[in-house]
């Protein structure tokens, strides 16, 4: 029953929209302002030196391309795989930040520090997206794609 629902083309398309649009929107602010994103990365205190700036230069484009891959069906599995790995890494970063008591902005969807402070709600959001990604990864969408995956 659950398997047949999760393999339904329309259900899969809904998951693709959720995951794909999430990452496309998440990338826009970061591409526009890499320095603010680099500061958000540095605030996690997991990487030092120029690493946050290199991450801030490349990561938003990874998110954008993977988002388009999931939405369009082009390089679909590669896109889903990267997004799954990113989501796991982001979730671990947020959890370690929370455990260390960091009072920092997430740097997830917006770089506005007033909006996106890290919290357990962010962890649960990410877990939801990881579950959606796990449903998408073995699938092979045939509808609403630019070319069959």
């Amino acid at each position: 029953m659950i398997k047949s629902v999760l393999s339904n083309e329309y259900v899969l398309f809904a998951f693709r929209l959720l995951v794909g649009l999430t990452f496309v929107f998440a990338s826009i602010d970061k591409i526009a302002d890499p320095l603010s994103f680099a500061n958000a990365v540095a605030n996690y205190r997991l990487v030092a030196g120029s690493v946050p700036l290199i991450v801030a230069t490349v990561l938003p484009w990874v998110e954008l391309l993977c988002g388009f891959a999931v939405l369009s069906g082009l390089y679909y599995r590669g896109g889903v795989l990267i997004l799954l790995m990113l989501l796991i890494a982001f979730t671990l970063a947020v959890i370690t930040g929370l455990i260390r008591g960091l009072d920092i902005s997430c740097g997830c969807f917006t770089l506005d520090p007033d909006v996106g402070r890290i919290g357990w709600n962010k962890v649960f959001e990410n877990i939801g997206l990881i579950l959606a990604g796990l449903v998408l990864f073995p699938s092979r969408p045939r509808r609403f794609v630019l070319t069959p995956g």
Binding site: A42, P52, T57, W61, G79, D112
Partner: protein, 158 residues
């Protein structure tokens, strides 16, 4: 399936690196931004002024009424309780609170604090105030936690 995913992932990553660096080069943002515009995190600025202050020194300056305490936490936390006579200047409202900043005394010691040892906002706010010419600004890493655990004077906003 895994091999196909790995191949496609590699292609996407290469394309992202290429796009990221190209965009950075032409837009002057990211790694190719003018030098000095990224300081490897505001927290790494602790070695330069402003300097940290411990609870004993903060207490002494408070009792001699020679320092102004600035609370970098969110308004909500400030209203629930803050160091007596402190003023609220949340880090995330720095740009919107120009009148508050303009009213700060430049000839007095300004002590910025947030929750405690694990928060960044006092350091970041102190650095911003220092950049604005408040040379007497210092930050109090122990913050609200240290102050209250030493039973020092506090008040809540009405």
């Amino acid at each position: 399936m895994i091999r196909q995913a790995a191949r496609e992932s590699a292609f996407i990553l290469c394309a992202a690196v290429l796009l990221g660096f190209t965009f950075s080069l032409f837009a002057g943002k990211g790694v190719f931004a003018p030098s000095g515009s990224f300081s490897a995190g505001a927290t790494s600025r602790t070695a330069s002024p402003p300097s940290p202050i411990n609870v004993a020194e903060a207490k002494m300056l408070f009792e001699s009424n020679t320092a102004l305490f600035v609370d970098a936490r969110h308004d909500f936390d400030f209203r629930r309780g803050h160091i007596k006579s402190a003023i609220s200047l949340p880090l995330n409202e720095f740009d919107a609170r120009q009148s508050t900043i303009a009213a700060l005394p430049k000839d007095k010691v300004i002590i910025v604090y947030c929750d405690g040892a694990e928060c960044n906002s006092s350091i970041e706010l102190a650095a911003k105030l220092y950049d604005r010419g408040f040379s007497g600004v210092r930050f109090f890493p122990g913050g609200w936690e240290d102050w209250t655990s030493n039973n020092l004077p506090t008040e809540a906003s009405k």
